[in-house]
């Protein structure tokens, strides 16, 4: 009895241990957050834990004995899509082992719901892609900025407006790829715009390249005019021949005034293709382009003006003495090459002081201005007339002999007597001129020598009683 009791106690303890052990393992399966499915060797479902019901959103009873499918993996995991009727599909990480269960070959399948993790991963991926796009845009912006500053530097080193178009075209093509465009400048009279640079397929006909300012909505309004679809938007009259479907017209403003126009057009593609120029994305860069260009063109024009001022006498607008040296030097080199002569004539107004004294300096200035006009009218296109100083002028006649020069000076001496000059309703007395001639190569081989001889001859003409031509 005692022995038996002992055995019974032992059995009881063993059973208790077994129960406890089973309860432990059962609770692991029952409380596991991962779906656990046991299938037979062919993939038929033998068991599903409560988590599987949650993951698949279905009742266990209806699936026991049904075909889950033969998992093609063993001892490794694979990603699957979870189908749950009435709910969004999920993503699961499926782990499969072949195992003995209740004495038969089975598949022990564990599925972890990783839908949330996948969603977060997808969001991270999207954020990274967005970042990549922003990065590309930044790089593109950097490229545009360095092109813009290159263009600005080149424009700044232009010495005249004629050098500008080539620069504008080469940078417009790089900055506005895929566009058909043109850059127009307003004429000095402000009556029309003329294209100074064209790129892409911008039409070449006259009407597209020269037009009145009011033919452009952008110029009329004094701000950017953009048309997204040329079928619907009011189109600037100056763009009748354009083959673009979308465009912008951007007035160029320099020192507060309209100085020209930047036009960009393109064919809008039906599909959203990054390679296709999007004018509206280019707008910002076009604004900078227009600003740099306007500033540069104003500077170039200013420096052109300064240069011309330094070679011209401000009163008579004739070339000055400094420029005369340059020209004679240049003509001497040419004459030496071509074996021709140059006539240099120094001209002085006789008794000019009397005009100044009698009618005042303003009358004297008027007289000098009119005399300059007279010279400009009389001389040939190839000749040069300079204001040497005071009432002295120098005439340079390339490809002329002493005889030619003398004859020409004589004709001027006679012609000047017919010139009538009025100043404040008063007719100024007619004047006479004295001429001193020197000729290359007869009198000298350089500017200084030629001027010295001509000056001496002029002195002789004065000595001999003025109103005459003397050869040095």
């Amino acid at each position: 009895m005692k022995k038996l009791t002992k055995k019974a106690v032992q059995d009881k303890i063993d059973l208790q241990a077994l129960k406890e052990s089973e309860a432990r393992f059962r609770s692991i399966v029952l409380w596991s957050p991962d779906a656990i499915i046991v299938t037979d060797a062919k993939g038929k479902i033998e068991y599903m834990n409560p988590a599987a019901e949650v993951v698949f959103n279905r009742k266990m009873e209806s699936f026991i004995g049904k075909d889950f499918g033969l998992p093609l993996v063993n001892g490794e995991s694979t990603e699957i899509d979870i189908f749950r009727p009435g709910k969004d599909p999920g993503v699961g990480d499926m782990y499969v082992v072949e195992a003995q269960w209740l004495g038969e070959n089975t598949h022990l399948i564990t599925i972890r719901d990783i839908t949330m993790r996948k969603q977060i991963e997808e969001k991270i991926k999207q954020a990274q892609e967005a970042l990549f796009i922003i990065n590309n845009k930044l790089e593109e912006r950097n490229r545009q900025n360095s092109l813009l500053s290159e263009m600005r530097e080149l424009l700044q080193s232009c010495s005249n407006v004629q050098e500008v178009p080539a620069i504008v075209i080469s940078y417009a093509v790089k900055l506005f790829p895929g566009t058909d465009g043109a850059l127009f400048l307003l004429s000095d009279s402000k009556s029309d715009l003329q294209s100074m640079a064209r790129w892409g397929y911008f039409p070449e006909d006259v009407d597209s390249n020269i037009f009145a300012p009011d033919a452009c909505w952008g110029l009329r309004q004094g701000r950017v005019y953009a048309v997204e679809d040329m079928k619907t938007g009011p189109i600037c009259p100056h763009l009748k021949k354009s083959s673009s479907t979308t465009y912008i017209c951007m007035p160029l403003i320099g020192k507060g005034e309209i100085i020209g126009l930047l036009h960009l057009g393109t064919k809008r593609s039906v599909q959203k293709d990054d390679k296709q120029a999007n004018i509206f994305e280019l707008k910002e860069i076009a604004v900078m382009f227009a600003e740099y260009f306007s500033l540069s063109i104003a500077n170039i024009k200013l420096s052109e003006k300064l240069t011309s001022q330094s070679v011209r006498d401000p009163l008579t607008r004739l070339y000055n003495r400094r420029y005369m040296d340059e020209i004679i030097q240049h003509e001497i080199l040419r004459a030496a090459r071509q074996q021709t002569g140059i006539g240099v004539v120094m001209i002085d107004i006789d008794h000019f002081k009397q005009i100044n004294d009698t009618y005042g300096h303003e009358a004297g200035d008027e007289f000098l201005t009119r005399l300059a006009d007279f010279f400009r009218l009389q001389i040939r296109r190839s000749d040069f007339i300079f204001r040497y100083g005071g009432e002295e002028f120098v005439l340079v006649l390339p490809e002329s002999s002493i005889e030619d020069t003398y004859k020409y000076a004589e004709s001027l001496r006679k012609e000047i007597k017919n010139m009538k000059i009025n100043f404040r309703d008063q007719q100024l007395p007619s004047v006479t001129l004295s001429f001193g001639i020197a000729a290359y190569p007869d009198h000298g081989l350089d500017t200084i020598e030629l001027i010295r001889i001509a000056d001496k001859a002029l002195y002789m003409a004065k000595e001999k009683g003025r109103d005459r031509v003397v050869i040095g």
Binding site: F63, L70, D81, F83, P89, I111
Partner: protein
Amino acid sequence: MAVKYVLKLYVTGETPRSQTVLKNLKEILDEDYKGVYSLKVIDVIKQPQLAEDDKILATPTLIKILPPPVARIIGDLSDREKVLLGLDFVAIR
């Protein structure tokens, strides 16, 4: 040639996973079974009722309807041998 093999492939959406499994399957079938199989691809998002009727729990799931017996495998179908074995194709060949 008459169709001897009738298959149904369940996928979820037009995702990279769906495209991969379809590509894998076509490669397997076109190699030895060209012209003698018919494959119906079903997207559970577009046709959930079909998936419910077939008691689909997860995709990609491939079901062989003909020849009998009906067999069902689950996974990315990247292992040719396992796919043929799972579908009982080997025995038929």
